[in-house]
Amino acid sequence: MNGAQHILDAFHRHNINTVFGYPGGCIMPLYDALVDDIGVEHVLCRHEQACALAADGFARASGDIGVCIATSGPGATNLITGVANAYMDSIPMLVISGQVPSPLIGTDAFQETDILGMTLGIVKHSYLVDDAQALPTIMEEAITLAQSGRPGPVWIDVPKNILLTDVTAPVATKTDEPESQCPDIAEALAMLRSAKRPLLYSGGGVSLARAEDNFRQFAQDSGMPSVVTLKGIGNAGKGHPHNLGMLGMHGSRAANKAVDECDLLFVIGARLDDRATGKLDGFAPNARMIHIDADAAEINKLRLADLALRGDLNQILDAFTTALAKAPLSICDWQKQCKTWHTTGGFQAADNEESLAPIAGPAFIRQLSKIVPDNAVIACDVGQHQMWVAQHYEFDHPRHHLTSGGLGTMGFGLPAAIGAQFADRNSTVINVTGDGSFMMNAQELATIRRYNLPLKLIIMDNQCLGMVRQQQELFYKNRESHINLDDNPDFVAMARAFDIPALHIERTDQIRRGIQAILAYDGPMLLHVAISREENVWPIVKPGGSNKDMIDETRRTSASTKEQVA
């Protein structure tokens, strides 16, 4: 068995049966081994960046490790954005890149790049294999490491000669993670019980730890009002009575108000990202903080925790739920207050009664949320549409919402949706994108067609880079700079060129029929939705500003949430 065959063997042993890749010179021995392989489906994307983002989407939707493969040089460098995206959102990923033969490394050989050096800051760990006999150990370690603790991408750079060398070293045995001990929650429980206005603040760590069920039980039994980060959307499930929705720059006024007024912030699986907290000086000024996370380096990173618990979220949440079952919290007044704020300061979109009116972004997303099945996966891109989805789509599970949170990668949505569709060929997967983001990986329409994926694509087309235009309007004296996209191609014709049928809608009365038409079609289909160029995402906090100083749609002036929500 040569190095290439050994890599496939490791895939088999770890039940990795789908990989996303693109062949080329130095990775050819692995592609040669794939010819005879049964059990690993190789998905050929049309750009290596899309391979990495599809592997990311596969991992997010399934909870399993995503795998991407590329050749040396430009193949490897094209992976970088997708790997950085996975790193920022802690997605378990294995990256295999070919490298020039060992004797040629350092000679500026054809398609040689120092990919190990280039990627040090965006991987959990990385290897340059210099001995074929080390490959069994490296493969085993890499696959385990990518998925353990706080997950992340692990990169293995394999010179071509190593792929061709016989591997005689024995297969490494799977390493089991040591069983974690649940930390003592007594002090945290006492803090929780003494709080009069405790607030649950959860993020992407909940689903990364596969702790969704325990989280919901805890959220329900504690009765704590709850806010979520962009990656935590769906944690509480659909219809959780105390969920105030997303906080932060485009969060609801109710969520930011609750953070402002709470006296205890109970943070679970979140890293207090600047887009969520706003200016830290004004963030939760009256609150003590309990921070629960798997990663010790996140504790006290941006704000000192009054108490930190590190460990397995499932165990910790279960311990709290058990304790609260014996003596529930008494926070009725606080619950009522938050509910009032939610009623007056939650995300709201006027359902336009005028059927011939142009389509409003939030109203479209609300209709989409009502029409598609609860278990549909929505893969967003980055921009205004992403925030409208976060604000107005009601998710039942965090794995149904694929969004590029940390890196904010335009072009993420389409390949991520492809990955999600491979994770479950029978699920409804919808890529909600903008005209700017769509064009960043539009070549993947060919991948959809090749594999006949029943993906649905929705382009919310405002003929510009809407989020940039909005910030130029609000914070740069309306001096528009290079945001105009009114020379976009005809997206309907473009989809049809890839043999993907497409529809165009532009009026409110066409929304329902448009969505129903693409859902009913047995195959991939694109819905082109023309929306106003001038529409903004509300509310908004100026980058670097305090969440208290949200700018509201009606007034477009800075005002405190106290005034707005009261």
Binding site: H125, D130, A296, K301
Partner: protein, 92 residues
């Protein structure tokens, strides 16, 4: 940076033990730089499997945060930090 500003920047001795691998030093230095510290002195001893690296660092961010980030590196086995005598620590 003015001499006065240099004097006020906290300084630390950091000793790190990590597994010997091709990119070990780069990995360590990358984290030090990106987390806001400057290396003013550096020495290294290499054994069979481990590297013993001693750094003198300057930086105004909490050193405990850098320590936590370095400890996350898969090949790092131990990090010991000491504030240099006579210099006020940002995190202590």
């Amino acid at each position: 940076m003015s001499p006065q500003a240099e004097c006020s920047t906290p300084s630390y001795n950091l000793n790190c033990r990590m597994q010997s691998e091709a990119a070990a030093l780069e990995r360590l230095c990358q984290v030090v730089r990106v987390r806001g510290f400057r290396i003013s002195q550096m020495s290294m001893n290499s054994g069979n499997e481990h590297l013993e690296i001693a750094l003198t660092l300057e930086g105004s961010r909490p050193i405990t945060m850098l320590k936590a980030q370095l400890e996350k590196l898969h090949t790092v086995t131990e990090v010991v930090v000491q504030a240099q005598v006579g210099v006020r620590s940002a995190s202590a």
